[in-house]
Amino acid sequence: MAYKWEDTAFKGSLSRARGLGSARSGVEHWMHQKMTALANIPLVLWAVCSVAQLARADGGHQVVTSFFAQPFNAVMMTLFLISTLYHAVLGIQVVVEDYIHTESTKTVLLMLVKLLAFALGVAGIFSVLKMAL
């Protein structure tokens, strides 16, 4: 059963056809992609400057900790993480749907990407808050 419509012979025709066709959430996906793209422009520029600044600074983790103790930096990094991770998930979703046609592999990969991104977001935001508060 590589493709979804090649399901077992035990299914009736309606049952086999259910779930196929348009996902109906395409425009929403597209709009969210464009909105996060727009938000990413200033956030990414800020992030690149910050990472470059942190990389140049000599010193251990106190440099990073004191950087994110400032509320502006903490808020910007949180926004950056949320926006870029969501943008990445939307993009990777399209890539997976384009290239992988085996239904089981595609499903597992899509779930993995979404769960991983959520976990990364929580880890990142938690780390920022820990340094900020």
């Binding site: 793209a37 422009i41 990414v44 690149v48 251990g60 990364l120 990142g124 780390s127 920022v128």
Partner: protein, 125 residues
């Protein structure tokens, strides 16, 4: 019908179509996007390491300053600026600009130039 089948391509593909600038832009936009995910992982690792304490952060810093880490970061910066500029071109196209071929070619050259310049700027300044 026992004649040998003629060797014809089944469908036009990479050996058939002539490469255009917009084709390269499109696939590079996708490739850079996927590559940027690795960079995101590194950013989260940096934050997590810094929040965890000196030893964890030193481990991260060790990797980030190693040759492999520096190459990855350089590649990531290049991919970032390319994806950023190509993405802005997409947003402009959504608004109806840059749709003719000369405009698209001009924008494409700007994107490559801009990405190279910004990467050099961030790394050399």
């Amino acid at each position: 019908m026992s004649s040998k089948p003629a060797a014809r391509p089944l469908s036009p593909h990479l050996q058939i179509w002539k490469w255009t600038l917009t084709m390269a832009l499109s696939i590079l936009h996708r490739a850079s996007g996927v590559a940027l995910v690795a960079g995101l992982l590194m950013v989260v690792w940096m934050l997590f390491a810094a929040a965890s304490g000196p030893e964890a952060y030193d481990c991260f810093k060790g990797f980030a300053t190693s040759i492999l880490g520096q190459i990855m970061l350089l590649g990531w910066t290049g991919a970032l600026f390319f994806h950023l500029f190509a993405g802005i071109r997409h947003l402009l196209m959504d608004m109806g600009y840059l749709l003719t071929i000369p405009q698209a070619e001009f924008a494409g050259k700007l994107i490559f130039l801009g990405a190279a310049l910004m990467t050099a700027l961030v790394w050399l300044v």
